[in-house]
């Protein structure tokens, strides 16, 4: 059993130890337990409403791109209508028409939601410990992207030159005046009438249009260390998000604030807190203190990869037994982080001209390559296919499964220990650090040894901690992707289902259904003296 039936004690733990040592979890940073549990609780609630397939929190990164694209599309129309010679007037004329007001509202809401999505995405990465080690560059580039996005938003607020835009310009200029950038304080420009001219608004417009290009470059950097980066969310979420924003802009149009007035004290200015969240602080402390606050927050955020990481553990990168590497390049193809490259003519392999090489600085230690390697010669230390076979053998010797028993392999980051076996039911449980790392030979060995069925409870495919674990597992078991589950294995006795940590009941129901289905198949045949590792050597090494 993975756990007893007392669900009240089943809060997911960040430091769970697997029942079998070889299938280890990658450690989370110290203190990640509480944030991680909080994250799981929120995810769990959203999963109950939207299901893990459509949980928008799982796709906040791609959703931010979805909203950004909507912002860009509406921005083109607004750009054509905008006049630098009459900023507020042109926006007011635009806003006076239904279509123009709608486009402006969509633009604003989409821009707001972009920041929301980016912020939640960053928070999720932080809370789940995905901001250090090989992911440090993604964290840093993501923060810079957020900074550029905010800058772009500020220029957008200033463009309209309403009371909010005036405040943003004035307080922003007061901070800029502290920096050795301008020969004279520029904040004066925003306190006097008839000083701000067309050139200022032209430059502001230029920045507002050019900054998204910077975001594009930063996005490329942000995803440069992942393979098959997901640019947009699944269609349902993508179009659902767009429809929601388009409808929102019809139902609740964004009102246009009064025009900027340098001779009025700001009263009841409608602040867009997603971009102008700092204005209340700016108006209550000196520019120096305000700049100091920005500096402290920036330093804390940018140093996350250094202080929010395990102190005693390190990621165990995969290693390749080059002598036995066949050069098939499957691990290279499957690696979700582009950490593996194929090197020609430098390896010690007698089987191939090229061998796989793992970049330990990029490898997250997910072990997905272990599941991809037919000869079982790649994987993190102690977690290769061969190691998994040893674990399985030990497990079977200790647990003596019966032919009608179901063995559950839950992903530690999915329902994991949260999975609760039905009361009174007899299940075996062997947690894994990532379903995508489970080698099909281990599954085959279990089934041929007489286990009634193997149920793999993966994490939700749309929130895999290692991006592509469930995807590759499904491909290997059902679609003959290397290293495929051999045809001789009865696939009726294997089932894969994805569940989030907050879906233990659904997972339990799925396992129970699988048990019932297995019982109809009769007892599984039991083989003795299975030599899968020997077969592997004969097939890949000895020829």
């Amino acid at each position: 059993m993975c756990a007893d039936t007392d669900t009240s004690k089943k809060a997911p733990r960040a430091d769970i130890q697997p029942t079998v040592g070889a299938l280890r979890r990658v450690p989370l940073p110290p203190g990640a337990g509480i944030p991680y549990r909080l994250l799981l609780a929120v995810d769990s609630w959203f999963n109950r409403v939207f299901t893990s397939k459509w949980n928008p929190l799982y796709k906040t990164g791609p959703l931010s791109m979805s909203f950004l694209i909507l912002t860009l599309i509406t921005g083109i129309y607004l750009f054509l209508m905008y006049r630098v010679s009459d900023p507020y007037g042109s926006v007011a004329r635009l806003d006076a028409t239904w279509f123009g007001g709608w486009m402006r509202s969509v633009h604003r809401y989409a821009a707001d939601l972009t920041v929301v999505a980016v912020a939640i995405h960053a928070l999720r990465m932080f809370m789940s410990g995905r901001s250090w080690g090989p992911r440090a560059m993604a964290w840093i580039s993501g923060l810079i992207s957020l900074g550029v996005l905010l800058l772009c938003g500020w220029t957008g607020l200033v463009m309209a030159w309403d009371v909010q835009g005036q405040l943003v310009a004035l307080e922003g200029a007061r901070i800029a005046d502290l920096l050795p950038i301008f020969s004279e304080p520029i904040s004066r420009s925003f306190t006097q009438p008839e000083v701000i001219g067309r050139s200022f608004f032209f430059m502001n417009l230029f920045l507002h249009v050019a900054l998204p290009l910077g975001i594009a470059v930063l996005y490329w950097l942000h995803v440069s260390q992942v393979a098959r980066a997901e640019f947009l969310p699944p269609r349902g979420l993508h179009y659902g998000a767009w429809i929601a924003v388009l409808l929102l802009a019809i139902v609740v149009p964004v009102p246009l604030p009064p025009a900027a007035d340098v001779l009025a004290v700001p009263i009841g200015v409608p602040l867009d807190l997603f971009y102008a969240f700092w204005l209340p602080l700016a108006r209550s402390v000196s520019p120096g203190m305000h700049l100091l606050a920005w500096g402290i927050v920036g330093a804390v955020l940018f140093s996350v990869p250094w202080w929010w990481r395990p102190k005693t553990h390190t990621i165990e990168p995969s290693v390749v037994d080059e002598e036995h590497c066949t050069g098939c390049a499957q691990c290279y193809l499957d690696c979700p982080y582009d950490a593996i490259s194929m090197i020609q003519g430098v390896g010690q392999s007698s089987l191939s001209d090229s061998v796989a090489r793992v970049d330990p600085n990029v490898c997250t230690g997910c072990g997905i390559c272990a599941g991809s390697c037919a000869p079982m010669v790649v994987g993190p230390a102690g977690r290769s296919g061969r190691d998994q076979l040893q674990v399985v053998k030990t497990f079977l010797a200790e647990n003596q499964p019966t032919p009608d028993q179901v063995l559950v392999i839950p992903c530690a980051y999915g329902v994991g220990e949260n999975w609760v076996a039905p009361e009174g039911a007899d299940f075996l449980c062997l947690p894994s650090s990532c379903s995508g790392s489970v080698h099909t030979s281990a599954i085959e060995y279990l089934l041929r040894s007489g286990v009634g069925g193997v149920m793999l409870l993966t994490c939700p495919e749309r929130d895999c901690l290692y991006r592509e674990g469930p995807r590759w597992l499904n491909e290997r078991v059902y679609n003959d992707r290397e290293a495929e589950l051999r045809p001789r294995v009865d696939r009726r006795r294997v089932r894969i289902a994805g569940f989030a940590p907050g879906e233990p009941e659904a997972a339990r129901a799925a396992v129970e259904q699988f048990r019932l289905d297995i019982s109809e198949l009769g007892e599984a045949p039991v083989e003795r003296d299975i030599q899968l590792d020997r077969e592997c050597e004969v097939q890949y090494v000895e020829p």
């Binding site: 004279e184 006097q192 009438p193 929601a244 340098v262 001779l263 602040l271 867009d272």
Partner: protein
């Protein structure tokens, strides 16, 4: 709450949750900021150039002899920027006094002043003065140069409006301090002073010494 995946409430619940989340976005995107204080604000936003005086002296024979022939200029001059003192009186009461220095490491950049003072609204007499402070140990020539430095005075009665800003600016072209008054609700249409001396309460036109 059980999983809604099989219930008929699924879609209404999803729509409701989505609407609630979007409502948060709407509200957080338009949070009213800034409250009326009932006070009037006087903003002094001045930019003055030519606030540097040139102090010259004759080199001694020994100094000249120590220099290469092509560098033996008898008179050496250096720019010195005195500190200016800015004062604001409202109805005769001093409400602001501040020192202002020209910008730049060598003080050769414009002198810029940006101060805001809150006061009671109503018809008030504003007196603004910005004058250079004396430099220690000035000789006669320096004193003459110092005397020629621009000095700014304004003495004018204006209507200070609650929650509005009365702006005092320095006109770069004629070197006069001028007042931009908020004119009620239509404060964007500013009036430019100096007012004629016949305006009640106005004691003098802005002057430059």
């Amino acid at each position: 709450m059980s999983s809604p995946s099989a219930g008929w409430l699924v879609w209404p619940l999803r729509v409701l949750v989505t609407a609630a989340l979007l409502a948060v976005v709407v509200v957080a995107g338009q949070v009213p900021f800034g409250r009326a204080s009932g006070e009037a604000v006087v903003r002094l936003a001045l930019r003055s150039v030519n606030t540097q005086l040139e102090v010259c002296r004759e080199r001694t024979e020994e100094e000249l002899a120590a220099l290469p022939v092509h560098m033996r200029r008898a008179t050496v001059c250096e720019g010195v920027a005195p500190t200016y003192r800015l004062t604001l009186r409202v109805d005769g009461e001093q409400v602001l006094t501040a020192a202002a220095d020209a910008g730049g490491v060598r003080g050769d950049r414009p002198l810029i002043v940006d101060h805001e003072v809150r006061t009671e609204p109503g018809r008030r007499r504003l007196q603004v003065e910005m004058v250079p402070l004396e430099l220690p140990g000035m000789d006669a020539a320096s004193l003459e140069a110092w005397t020629d430095l621009p000095r700014y005075h304004l003495d004018q009665t204006v209507d200070l409006v609650a929650d509005k800003i009365t702006l005092v600016l320095l006109d770069q072209e004629d070197g006069l301090l001028k007042v931009y008054e908020p004119t009620g609700e239509a404060s964007r249409q500013v009036s430019i002073n100096p007012r004629p001396s016949s305006v009640p309460g106005s004691t003098s036109s802005p002057t430059v010494s």
